[in-house]
Symmetry: C2
Subunit: 181 residues, 2 copies
């Protein structure tokens, strides 16, 4: 998966591994994140596969400072992947629900307290999504001809916001339900 995210961003502009990490953190990271270690190793792999090419720029002494560019093969691979029919939705993995499912024997006050903490976390996440939405025009200014891209980026953020809102509402419901025990 991360491979195609890297291809997707390199399709906008050549970038270094560090740039890609920053870009992901500030945009698509809300639905698919990656550690720098994975990014660097995947980039090397992709170069071996001929999907991207690198050039050491501004050597500034020691560390390699590699800027990666999409090759034609990479551009084709991206387009093919985007057009491939979608597979089944990946099965949900909701960490939080695992302990909750088995919490009948626990102190209800403890469970409620934990749910409240989690609710606060989700409220924070919702706030960052909101901030991200506000900053979208900076990421895709009209001069760059990315208006269309912005529409899709906004859609992904919208799902994130709705997801968090849904989750926060559910916490209210859960805390109240446990109250009646």
């Amino acid at each position: 998966m991360i491979k195609f995210i890297l291809l997707g961003f390199l399709n906008y502009a050549p970038m270094t591994g560090y740039d890609l990490k920053q870009t992901i953190d500030r945009s698509s990271g809300h639905f698919w994140h990656a550690h720098h270690s994975q990014i660097y190793t995947t980039l090397r792999q992709m170069e071996n596969e001929g999907l991207i090419a690198s050039r050491v720029v501004e050597p500034q002494d020691a560390p390699d400072h590699r800027r990666y560019t999409l090759t034609n093969a990479g551009r084709t691979a991206l387009a093919t992947w985007l057009d491939r029919p979608l597979t089944d939705p990946s099965p949900v993995k909701e960490q939080l629900l695992v302990p909750l499912f088995f919490s009948a024997g626990r102190d209800p006050d403890d469970v409620q307290a934990e749910l409240r903490v989690q609710r606060a976390r989700h409220q924070e996440v919702a706030a960052t999504y909101h901030a991200l939405t506000e900053r979208l025009p900076d990421l895709a200014p009209e001069e760059h001809g990315l208006e269309r891209d912005r529409v899709f980026w906004r859609l992904t953020l919208k799902l994130g916001l709705r997801y968090e809102a849904m989750y926060i509402a559910w916490f209210e419901h859960a805390v109240q339900t446990i109250e009646t025990l």
Copy 2:
């Protein structure tokens, strides 16, 4: 994670690997699933750790038919794990959003068509959650003293239903947004 799900279910009753697979598929599978291969290997591991004990029952010739039981160590491990403070919410990984994010250059009709297919899938999932909710009284009959457990199980299903409803509503929004392009 699967380790604690197995501990959680074995805390209700001794079971074989196969039973556990069935039970998970019919209950907690909607938020955390497992393949039988992982269940069998994890059970062996847990037995080595002393969390569970097995007995071959009804040998009926060839295949081992192992029924696993929680040990005291296992019961303690489960209780400790349930009471441990929750960690940060696991970062979202929404497969579908990855191609969508980079779909500005694609044919909008294709994108819409795919979104409609996915919406149908999510509607099916919502239907199975609904059916599961209806069957909850069977899984935890009142005579077994599991009324309290049922409350928590219902809460997890409720989140699933809300999640699917949210997703389905977002699909409408997404399809309409793309319509305006």
